[in-house]
């Protein structure tokens, strides 16, 4: 699993975290849809992919993030500004997509099969976690 590179980097600003948690801004049109629950695909295969070292942490050019086995996959995605990224929860447990540092990602609780979309308009590095399982962390890198 991804190592906590940013473990202490934001401690000084942490008192302001989630200050806007109850009033998630939706300027960039985040949306949640309940998708039909697909059959649990080959769990063992997915587990082995997530546990595999190296490539899982490399930035990936995709706009789809799967939440499965208590992890975001890929853990880092790189997209161009203006891209809409979609997260889909394929776990039996609920998860969230929530920015660190009071950033723009403020999903509601995503139950099994739910998706959350967010359109990144400005370049930057967007760290996020699941507030229910805060060991789950990942990153979206937005390029110009």
């Amino acid at each position: 699993m991804r190592l906590p590179r940013l473990l202490f980097a934001v401690a000084t600003s942490a008192t302001l975290l989630f200050a806007g948690h109850d009033t998630a801004a939706n300027a960039d049109q985040p949306a949640v849809t309940a998708a039909p629950t697909t059959a649990m695909a080959d769990m063992a295969d997915m587990a082995s992919k997530i546990a595999a070292p190296g490539p899982a942490d490399a930035p990936v050019a995709t706009n789809a993030v799967t939440i499965q086995n208590f992890a975001y996959s890929p853990a880092t995605v790189t997209v161009k500004a203006g891209t809409t990224v979609t997260w889909t929860n394929k776990d039996q447990d609920p998860h969230t997509v929530t920015s660190m540092n009071g950033g723009p990602l403020q999903s509601p609780t995503l139950n099994t099969g739910d998706s959350f979309r967010y359109t990144f308009k400005t370049p930057g590095r967007f760290e996020y976690l699941c507030t229910i399982h805060p060991f789950m962390t990942a990153t979206v890198v937005v390029t110009p």
Binding site: L3, A11, A14, T15, L17, F18, F70, P94, M100, F135
Partner: protein, 307 residues
């Protein structure tokens, strides 16, 4: 201590190996030299129980009846053979912070027979509302986001909230650190301190978020006290360590076990073979007898499922 009590306590220790799963026996006895017999006879002794991570509302193969196992934990606390001065639930009362889950756990905890019932919140108790529903039901008399302190039988108890401003690790924040500093300012150094939090105040396994990023600051305010005991939940397993004047005890859960640090890809609910769940769940009994150097902590496994 009556003869019957003596026999009962002899039975606990004598039968521990034989009845390892079924009887809710003592599964650890660490930290401190007070004996149960002496404590039971001492009206000045503090006796309390800790229960944690009931996750009411969880549905999964790791425990298909978290209501039943939490109910069993309450029964065991009510059957300790004495009335605890208080019972503390160290968080994750609910699984997903729904009103129905909060109402249910509140009603169940109403069945505890103790001098008082206290809680600290876990991150599962603030899903989507920054802890508002939690504080509405359990926050009476607390400060800030739900922290508080009280004195009982010569012991100073501090209950902290380190599950709101999460950055993977637990976090206390400036306001709460200030509260701790002022809260203990007037206490003499020989006052025993007990600190409750959901997430550990020590670095149990930061990779999984099992630590609190500003705990060192909090503990620095407690450095001058001769006895500091920090009791937490969150990790769903027993673990103890001592750092200087501070002893940390992670409690187990009444719901489902989590893997040992690093022994799985992620800290996800573990489904045990049939018949083994009760041994992984439990309650904790803590005693402090004036004159003793520290607190005695006993963890008892849950007799679950019922025979």
């Amino acid at each position: 201590m009556s003869r019957r009590q003596l026999l009962r306590h002899s039975a606990w220790f004598g039968a521990a190996v034989v009845l390892a799963v079924a009887s809710g026996e003592v599964i650890s006895h660490v930290d401190g030299t007070a004996t149960t017999a002496a404590v039971l006879d001492d009206p000045h002794a503090l006796r309390f129980a800790q229960v944690s991570d009931s996750h009411i509302g969880f549905t999964g193969s790791a425990n298909t009846d978290v209501t039943g196992s939490f109910s069993r934990a309450i029964t065991q606390i009510n059957s300790l053979g004495f009335r605890p001065d208080f019972v503390m639930h160290t968080g994750d009362l609910t699984h997903l912070s729904t009103q129905a889950q909060f109402d249910q756990v509140k009603q169940m905890m109403g069945g505890l027979r103790a001098g008082g019932v206290f809680t600290v919140p876990g991150e599962h108790d603030s899903v989507g509302d920054h802890g508002q529903k939690y504080r509405a039901l359990f926050g009476a008399g607390s400060k800030g986001d739900g922290w508080y302190s009280f004195d009982i039988k010569g012991v100073h108890v501090i209950a902290l909230v380190n599950t709101l401003a999460l950055e993977k690790l637990g976090h206390l924040g400036t306001d709460q650190l200030d509260f701790i500093q002022h809260d203990v300012a007037g206490l003499s150094g020989d006052t025993p301190i007990v600190v409750f939090s959901h997430i550990p105040l020590f670095a149990m396994y930061p990779t999984w978020g099992w630590g609190t990023d500003d705990a060192a600051q909090a503990l620095s305010y407690l450095r001058r006290f001769s006895s500091v005991t920090c009791l937490n939940g969150h990790v769903h397993q027993l673990f103890s360590k001592t750092e200087g004047n501070v002893t940390f005890h992670s409690a187990t859960t009444t719901a489902y076990p989590l893997p040992h640090p690093g022994q799985a890809p992620a800290p996800t609910p573990q489904t045990l073979p049939a018949g083994q769940l009760g041994a992984a769940l439990g309650i904790r009994e803590v005693t402090y007898q004036p004159g003793q150097p520290g607190l005695a902590v006993k963890d008892r496994s849950l007799a679950w499922p019922p025979a």
